[in-house]
Symmetry: C2
Subunit: 427 residues, 2 copies
């Protein structure tokens, strides 16, 4: 699928000019028609700030104003209609109005909307035009796009090409060439950030009185669920980075909770945008946790697998996880670990048995404690933490019994989440 993403500023002020792109030329106020003609994208996405809006009746009216004028402009320049407009929160003081709020809202909101329009499967060819964009929106759109594409590349081939035209100089410019300024194959880059454990990490305070902010935070039930489950969600994020198939399968996130949590943050955020005569004030701001949630949900969609989460896995199922979602050294050494486990448990076990017990029965001498380094080295299949069962086929699951960790007995889930939080550098 081919997608063309453009960062735009105040399109109504652009001058008619001749654009050249390869052998094509086209006269008009924007690069869009010639890019659409040459690239033939299946879908076009225009990212532009809500600071262009002049209707301060309501937030919807403001966005509708931008959208309507944009659609009128697209009609005038003869652009294709397969277009999504992502109208993002901008800031600044303009003749027509003042826009105040958190400066990182732009990034978080762009990320959220891009994650909705980017496909989650199939080869992806992404084209990005920075010609007409405002500096900060262009930079943040570029960042959001690259982060999501790094996740999409986990399972699909993704290419990225960026364009920028020669600079426009009033009175001088007769023709502007559209230049390719970046052309690359996007490397797989799984999410490598952790969810914050505090609700305030998802929705910050920009201008609300402390008590009001406190009661908004307190009311966010879904985010409460997310923060209570942050240890397991972060362990899942780690399972993709470090190649831990049983953690991947057993801690596979509930997509609906992630979606509801995102909706909850966005509702509270929107409800606290004050619209008045020539003024928008966003009293709350989207936090880093919101961004991690967006990427986590997108990654879950890209790494989709039916029937998860569940507790018990055949070795074949774990092998499938490694084969589909892990790469290079991590994939091969995970498959070697699975192979070792299969060769180690050769006889039927007559039900579940802790693997460390099994090893002792075989005359081996496993570490009586969970060692974090062992946990990582063996793809999460640490002998104290897993139970095995062979009934013809071999099955494995994490134990429900306490294990020794740092000298004291502890719940296995606590041990796994602690080991992986530490590996990810979460404090």
């Amino acid at each position: 699928m081919k997608i063309l993403v453009l960062s735009w500023g105040d399109f109504e002020r652009w001058k008619e000019i001749r654009y050249r792109f390869g052998d094509e030329t086209s006269v008009g106020p924007s690069t869009l028609p010639i890019l659409q003609k040459a690239i033939k994208p299946d879908w076009t996405v225009i990212v532009l700030p809500d600071t262009l809006g002049r209707d301060f009746e309501s937030l919807e009216a403001l966005r509708e104003d931008v959208r309507n004028r944009l659609m009128g402009f697209l009609d005038r320049i003869g652009a294709g209609r397969e277009v999504d407009a992502i109208i993002v929160p901008g800031i600044g003081e303009f003749p027509h109005g003042t826009f105040r709020g958190g400066a990182m809202d732009t990034y978080h909101y762009t990320l959220y909307r891009l994650a909705q329009v980017l496909p989650i499967e199939g080869p992806l060819e992404v084209h990005f035009d920075s010609t007409h964009g405002l500096n900060y929106i262009t930079l943040l759109t570029y960042r959001a796009l690259k982060e999501l594409l790094g996740i999409a590349a986990m399972t699909n081939r993704v290419t990225f090409t960026a364009y920028n035209s020669d600079p426009f100089v009033p009175g001088i410019t007769r023709e502007l060439t559209i230049n390719v300024i970046e052309k690359s194959e996007v490397k797989q880059s799984p999410l490598n950030e952790a969810l914050p454990s505090s609700r305030k990490g998802y929705l910050g305070n920009f201008a609300l009185p402390g008590r009001e902010y406190g009661s908004v935070i307190k009311s966010m039930e879904k985010i409460g669920e997310v923060t209570r489950g942050a240890g397991k969600l972060n362990a899942w994020i780690a399972s993709v980075i470090y190649g831990l198939p049983l953690v991947f399968g057993a801690y596979y996130p509930d997509g609906r909770l992630l979606e509801e949590a995102l909706d909850e943050v966005l509702s509270a955020y929107s409800e606290n945008i004050r619209v008045s005569e020539k003024r928008i004030e966003r009293a709350l701001s989207l936090g880093d946790g919101f961004g991690v949630l967006v990427k986590l949900l997108y990654q879950r969609k890209v790494l989709k697998m039916g029937g998860l989460p569940k507790e018990e896995f055949s070795l074949e199922e774990l092998g499938e996880i490694a084969e589909r979602f892990f790469k290079g050294r991590i994939r091969e050494s995970t498959k070697t670990e699975l192979h070792r486990l299969t060769s180690s448990v050769k006889v039927n076990t007559n039900g579940w048995i802790r693997y460390s017990e099994f090893l002792k029965m075989m005359g081996k001498n496993p570490n009586p404690q969970v060692d974090p380094r062992n946990f990582l080295a063996h793809a999460g299949l640490e002998a104290n933490l897993i139970e095995v069962k062979r009934e013809g086929e071999l099955y494995v699951r994490y134990t429900g019994e306490k294990v020794l960790y740092g000298g004291t007995p502890a719940e296995p889930e606590k041990v796994i989440t602690a080991v992986l939080s530490k590996a990810m550098g979460v404090t």
Copy 2:
């Protein structure tokens, strides 16, 4: 160390304005003084295009003109003097002159110069201001900076903060707030691109007659050396990604060759910039291979280790490579592989012996062929490819004898480079 990087455009046209940053305010044409005051950087780097130059006497004169006017401007605004100016090749048609050349030169040249000024050790705190930059230079500087910092983060803690002021609106703006638009801890991200095997991948042709271009390409001896050794250099790049300590140590790149190759490309590039009355034409363009070379040299400096390359390593030395340069799962499973090898070869061997032979003597049945998956799974310590020697301590090296690969005997170096090229997706 704290570094402040700014992307700048035509600084002589900026208006006096009041900037606010946190609790500080400062009046002037630029964000620099207030950022320097608040951040207190050890070093400041300003990236700006040579298209600002008006002296077309020579390339040096053009750059000197930009530099002198910049230094005069910095004096006037009272900026600190610990400043590097990176004057990068820009393109466009302006009243004072026309600048033509490859649009990706900006990125490659910025990358090259940033790699010279960024430190290679110690914690790094990088601040990036996009307020005053041209769209494409800002975007490409951001990309170059992030790529190098991902490499620096392999051994050091690196944080990154980006700033952009509110938009300036003539006639309206009284004060502009400088906003934080990104704040993150940079994750380790080793170089994940391969060197091209063709010389033309390092220096492209923009406007030279084919024969002249051909003779420039033919004259590049150092690049010839690089392309002939590209298989081994790419294997070293792969060794960092996949955690292969013996490949890392045995194929450690010759830093001087990399430096000389970069100098050679830059000389040919500069010699083919035609300077005439109000016109600059860069007849050659810096290629992707140049960018990979820059990052490779920077990575070699960040992952510096004395006495490399060499052929024979004690297991302790390989463990040190894993401990210092690999992370997470890859580090732990590499150490497990080293441990397995140590436990496997318990007795003195009376000289070097192929490890596959040793295993057969121990009654085992190793794969008679090199299997690429095995090579990755065992951290590059594949039984047919390595020789072991125990004289008290255990030593290991790659064999010089042919090995079976894909059914035919082949040179071990060819096998290793073929396996790793394939893993990296090099075609």
